[in-house]
């Protein structure tokens, strides 16, 4: 086995190369472990904190074993001790609003993004790059800059405090992302597939739906995942554009200051509760997420 180091050829024994390989393996695993700790540690801390009473939350050194305090969750759901509180008002409604808005918004954004990404990947037409850049640019503006204008526009159009309005916002916010990501995935599918299909007498639509689309399932899943996350957690627009009727869950349960100061328990509980639907969504699409593009017969780039 030869290894090149510093320009010279060095003869290494197989044992040496093997141990270098093993060391690198362990080093890489160690790095991965560090990252996993960094990634999951705070999540674990969030979950624990959501069950701590206020006194325990600020104890130093931190307490690891304590009596669980469910008041945070009670406040989030408006049950138990918090059943009479003003915050309990409309939790279920906001949950439904969130689910509806996020699912519909995601579906629309993914559909539109897939369609747009496909034609931009396959065809060259005048204005293609302009279209792509325009679509991307919708993502560049910080919402705060235009919130008042949206508020006014929606109010005049009767869209304020409606789920339809929020769906529009969700689509608008995510279709750029969806288009670009899907274009990337479509770029990875060889154009030969459609050419073969066309030569064989199929329509473009058929080729798209039956041949190409199944090959980018992974991309669709990833796009849907991102869009769902962004739509679900969308806060700036939702908090200003809705007041009572179409309030989404993040807006509802993040109102977290109370008699004792900032209700940390409640915020942590809210965080945990909010992440569950997203987890469910990702679980549902997990098969497609971990699948990438397939190349079937062709097997070459």
């Amino acid at each position: 086995m030869m290894a090149v180091a510093g320009g010279e050829c060095i003869e290494m024994t197989k044992a040496q190369t093997d141990s270098v390989q093993k060391l690198t393996q362990w080093f890489l695993i160690a790095l991965l472990a560090v990252y996993t700790f960094y990634n999951l540690g705070p999540i674990f801390w969030l979950i624990i904190s959501s069950l701590k009473s206020r006194a325990d939350l600020f104890a130093m050194p931190p307490v690891w074993f304590f009596e669980p305090d469910l008041s945070g969750y009670q406040q989030v759901f408006g049950v138990g001790a918090a059943a009479e509180s003003a915050s309990a008002f409309g939790v279920l409604d906001s949950l439904i609003s969130s689910v509806v808005v996020s699912t519909v918004g995601t579906a629309l954004a993914v559909i539109l993004g897939t369609m747009g990404g496909y034609v931009c990947s396959r065809f060259n037409f005048t204005g293609k790059n302009d279209f792509l850049f325009f679509v991307l640019s919708t993502r560049m503006l910080p919402p705060v800059a235009v919130l008042v204008f949206y508020h006014l526009m929606f109010a005049r159009l009767g869209l304020a405090d409606t789920r339809t309005g929020l769906v529009l916002v969700a689509v608008f916010a995510n279709v750029g992302l969806a288009t670009w990501i899907m274009k990337g995935f479509f770029d990875g599918v060889p154009k030969e597939i459609e050419q073969i299909a066309l030569v064989s007498g199929y329509t473009r639509l058929y080729a798209f739906f039956r041949l190409v689309l199944p090959m980018v399932k992974g991309g669709i899943a990833a796009t849907a995942g991102f869009c769902f996350i962004f739509a679900w957690n969308e806060f700036a627009f939702a908090s200003i554009l809705t007041t009572t009727k179409a309030k989404t869950l993040p807006v509802k349960i993040s109102a977290a200051s109370g008699a004792t100061g900032i209700e940390w328990t409640q915020i942590c509980a809210a965080g945990v509760v909010l992440i569950i639907p997203v987890l469910i969504f990702f679980y549902l699409i997990r098969k497609h997420l971990l699948m990438g593009m397939t190349f079937g017969v062709l097997g070459r780039r």
């Binding site: 790095l31 969030l46 369609m115 850049f133 279709v175 473009r204 806060f235 993040p250 990702f282 971990l290």
Partner: protein
Amino acid sequence: MSMQTTDATATMRATGKPAKKKSSGRLMILGFLSPTLLILIFMVAYPIFSLVFYSFHNFSALRPNAGMTPAGFDNYSYLLSDPDLWQRFVFTGKFVLLCVTLQMIIGIFVGYQLQKSFRGRDVIFTLLMMPMMLSPVVVGFLWRYMLNSEWGIVNYMLTLVGVGKVDWLGQTDAALWAAAAADTWMWTPFIILLATAAFRGIPETIYEAAEVDGASQAYVFFRITLPMSAPVLFIALILRLIDSFKQYDLFFALTGGGPGSSTETVSFAVAKTAFNYFYTGEASALAVILLCIIIGLSLILVRHLMKLGERY
């Protein structure tokens, strides 16, 4: 696949519907693009027009009784000559650079490592996605809590390993790193997911060929994997760049922009001017300036991306 082709071909021939290439192509383009265009134009036309319009006026949406006077380029000249604004741009630039670099490197690395099959890989992968799923509001609070200098878990762990407590949120430099750590924590999974999908698309046969030729791991990664997944990775980079320029929630929760205004990003300044001060004209001008910079940067990157795409 060939079996299907023959059957379908027969069916198609039977119904006598030939494929028309050119016009069906154009129809497809039109049909596939128009809904997106319609929605986007509907959603951005009025706000962008308002934004540009008000940027040239002296106006406060909250004090309409004070009237609106045309201000020409006054808002712009005032903003561009304000040293505080440049300081904010520098700070934002540092933050964006830090975050995007960290996220890309870590994200690509982890995505690559997760290509190897090992027990529980799928579960770990899904779990690693979690930080991205959290509401940004909660993330801000969580990290504020963890970074508290007195009872935060981070400082506690630092004392355990012998390093003293750090005032993460009360000093500008420390706060920059703290915010970068939080942002990286939250968005690296984004890169991981896209990188994974991109890596998955590289056919096994290429790797097999490389192995036969005796290529080292490093060679495979840098000469095969990275270049072939470059287009998707580049898109991920651009998207993260755009999003981190807009970062506001995190700084608001962690430092409130302090000490002084040293941790205010440009987006933070826009939010403050638009909503706190309600100087609609000035905020609009600031937003336009920010937009121009982001557009400028993206144009450069996108052009690069197009070139990459042509190469492959």
